[in-house]
């Protein structure tokens, strides 16, 4: 046990030095290490379940970072679920982010959402939703606890290519 602990400490020390030398690598490097160290999600189970296999990683942003949110009306413009995935069509969004149409989000507009440094984000893969043939998930999912943080910048939306989506 002691040897393992020492190894982890050394690894974290090396990582820390790498991050200092290469600030542009900060976000991705942190993600990789977090995935190696924790297999579960530090969110309540009712939120963790929205990630594939209830797995997510907590990452605190060292610098502002831009994510995307897909929406179709003011009712679903703002919220806690974001993604790093940039999609071209509504159908890709609906399937990969598992946006069940029963909830009303047709994902016709892409919004850029810039989170301030210091924000803790929870990242993982979108869990499939029933019917899974329509909503297989698999896209990148980012969850934030406070979508009403006044320091979050919600940019103007950009229209996506809209195709017919139907689910039996």
């Amino acid at each position: 046990m002691k040897l393992q602990s020492v190894s982890v400490s050394i690894g974290l020390g090396i990582l820390s030095n790498l991050l200092t030398v290469s600030p542009s690598l900060i976000f991705n490097a942190t993600q990789v290490v977090a995935q190696d160290l924790t297999a579960t999600c530090p969110l309540p189970t009712e939120i963790a379940v929205t990630f594939l296999d209830s797995k997510c990683e907590a990452v605190t942003l060292k610098q502002p970072q831009t994510f995307y949110r897909y929406y179709s009306s003011n009712d679903n413009k703002y919220g806690r679920y974001l993604t790093t995935d940039k999609y071209k069509t509504n159908v890709d969004v609906i399937r990969n982010l598992a946006l069940n149409q029963a909830w009303g989000n047709k994902a016709t507009i892409r919004l850029k959402v810039t989170l301030p440094a210091g924000t803790t984000v929870y990242q993982g893969i979108v869990a499939p939703q029933t019917p899974t043939s329509c909503y297989p998930g698999g896209g990148q999912q980012t969850f934030i606890q406070d979508s009403k943080d006044p320091n979050i910048k919600w940019s103007e939306g950009k229209n996506l290519t809209v195709k017919d989506f139907s689910c039996p």
Partner: protein
């Protein structure tokens, strides 16, 4: 009716009651109507044996929807639909 189905319906009914209580108190009536509608749909499907198996990782989308907007984040409705999701993944 199987015990698992009965327990599942009980959890759904509890969620419906909480959502109905919230509907009269919050400004999210449309979203709460959607939650109630989907809960009823899931209940109907399980009662006629047409609920798609979760195979341990599919969700019903209830927690994903509610966690997106509910305030505060530890609200009873999110806990309730989370319990529905957990039971679904474990037993269906």
């Amino acid at each position: 009716m199987e015990t698992q189905t009965e327990e599942f319906i009980k959890l759904i009914n509890q969620s419906v009651v909480i959502a109905e209580q919230m509907r009269s108190q919050s400004g999210q009536s449309q979203r709460l109507n959607n939650v109630i509608s989907v809960l009823q749909s899931v209940k109907n499907k399980v009662m006629i044996g047409e609920l798609e198996p979760s195979e341990g990782n599919a969700t019903l989308g209830l927690a994903r929807e509610v966690a997106d907007w509910i305030e505060p984040l530890d609200a009873p409705l999110l806990k309730a639909v989370g319990a529905v999701e957990a039971y679904y993944q474990q037993y269906f």
